[in-house]
Symmetry: C2
Subunit: 343 residues, 2 copies
Amino acid sequence: MKKITLEDIAKSLGVSKTLVSLILNNKAKEHGISPDTVDRVLKKVKEMNYMPNQAARGLRTGKTNLIGLIVADISNPFYARISRAIEDLAWKKDYHLMVCSSDEDPEKEAQLVRILREKMQVEGLIISPTTDNVEVFRDLKKIEFPFVLIDRNYPKFSCNSVVVDNIRSSQSAVKHLIDSGAKRVALLTLSPAHISTLSERQEGYKLALKEAGIPFEEDLVREVPFSDIKNSVKKTLQDWLKAKQPIDAVFCANNHLAVAVLETISDLGLRIPYDLRMVSFDDVDVFKFSYPPVSAVAQPIEDIGTRAMEILFNNINDRASRESAEHVVLPAELVIRRSSSSL
Amino acid sequence: MKKITLEDIAKSLGVSKTLVSLILNNKAKEHGISPDTVDRVLKKVKEMNYMPNQAARGLRTGKTNLIGLIVADISNPFYARISRAIEDLAWKKDYHLMVCSSDEDPEKEAQLVRILREKMQVEGLIISPTTDNVEVFRDLKKIEFPFVLIDRNYPKFSCNSVVVDNIRSSQSAVKHLIDSGAKRVALLTLSPAHISTLSERQEGYKLALKEAGIPFEEDLVREVPFSDIKNSVKKTLQDWLKAKQPIDAVFCANNHLAVAVLETISDLGLRIPYDLRMVSFDDVDVFKFSYPPVSAVAQPIEDIGTRAMEILFNNINDRASRESAEHVVLPAELVIRRSSSSL
DNA sequence: AAAGTTTACTAAACTATTTTAGGTGCTTCA
DNA sequence: TGAAGCACCTAAAATAGTTTAGTAAACTTT
């Protein structure tokens, strides 16, 4: 079962490789190839079930029709859904997707960027960047390599990015808690707070307090370490609840934190929303069926992928577009469920 | 920012491309290249940050270091987790993964197989096959192309496969429902029941009934269409519950069905497990925090990916191994939660 | 009827790597 | 002193496409 090549097609018709190649690349007209020949060649190609070898084509043209996607962990449903949206768009344009997980490790991320670009020769990258890797992206930008950051970006560095409006949607989530009667709203967030999403959500929290005329209290914000969410959340929550002035609501900066809150509250024999109201960022399936159902900020996940892909394609096809940077900020929607009801 | 090639390295050292290539491919010893030269070359390679072009290498050697993964939908957390396990193993061996979603469409699947094989020149495939595409895999087997089916396989066709013990674990799930007091256990499954997993789960259901001496009733098995799970489940459940002899337990053949049951029961104002006990196949996050927590058969997801990858690598590296077929059947674990408690 | 134009096609170069089949110059030994 | 052996290295082919720079033959024009 030898692989069929251009040459096989050409030989079996007694024509040159050039001819077949030109026809397959839709350059028949512009090279004055007779419609008759075009038909003959196309028929043969179909008959022999020929498919061009991407490696050979890529080698000659530099076009691999590959794009790379780097996320923290593809088994995280949030990224899995983004990946799917990107895959669909890519395949529509005959591009193929290579997905890699960085595990939030800047070094692994940098290595992945290099491997995808230099070894696999991807034509563009979509990346949900880790904490601290601006240099890598500065380099990419400098050599005008097409890429788009999603979900997170760097405050002091401008490049293509598609993110959600973390500030405003967090603000409205916290406002909603206050409106539903909460007097002391705490914020649970994660400790590498220089990830843009997290600091922005914190900012939204502060804005909502300010707007409501509630003074900000340092003690009501806690950054728990990524590595030990469960225990840290438990301890934090216990502290907050047995304080002189116990909290009556908590805003969780991501879904993992919210799940930990659910677990803790159930462990402590308390009830949401009666003993504590809560809203989470990131609407995952769990929240719809949890007890009680959890209010959450739902990100337009598929849109993130789609918009990123559009920008990337534009960058790939239009050199000039690489000089500027496109910043897309998508709105997120607050889905209200029982965890934040006004009792 | 021109790409650095072998030739650049060679020229900058005044040696031949051959030399550099041999050294980089660890063939220095066998070609009697002096250790001195090896050092000089390796140093330069590092200094110039050189990385071989995979397209050129693949073209010459036929080795692309690519493997393809075809699943129904990568945004499904089950497949996302498998994909992650595969990715990790692949990268460890310097292989790269190309993930595609078939949307359960046999034609799309066949096309993906072709594109991945002929165009992308992947060295092997891991596939969670759709309903009815045996011919595609028969062809692959015939030309001894390395591939492994996961999650599902075809009853009358033998090829590498890694699946879970659907029959036995379904049987024990249903047995558990009966043991906990259920008298009339129904089965909710999906309509293309010739997907091996589904028919096996149905078989397990029947075995459990038989074992308990409960006669099988056609009416207590319903295959709902994939396209309209929500409504169909609702209607079916209502039928079952208002029958002369209402059911008191249901075994769901997958997590989507179970989620639909949760929704319906909540819509109807009923309570699990008091009005209806349930167990699902496929343990997803939702079930841990749902109200009530749902008992489920947990598949060893990462193992599936890992084992498949091991078999695939073996096939890729050892031609002889392609003649036989390896069948791996992994055990699944029943996780008991409140949805099936004995009241 | 020579020159120019058009039509329909092709030979060969090129891409970056691996691999085959040597080649060079030194030492060793008869 | 000339052949053999050895240690080290290289030229060129090969891979499967695309692209450049044509060419041959037929047809048109003057």
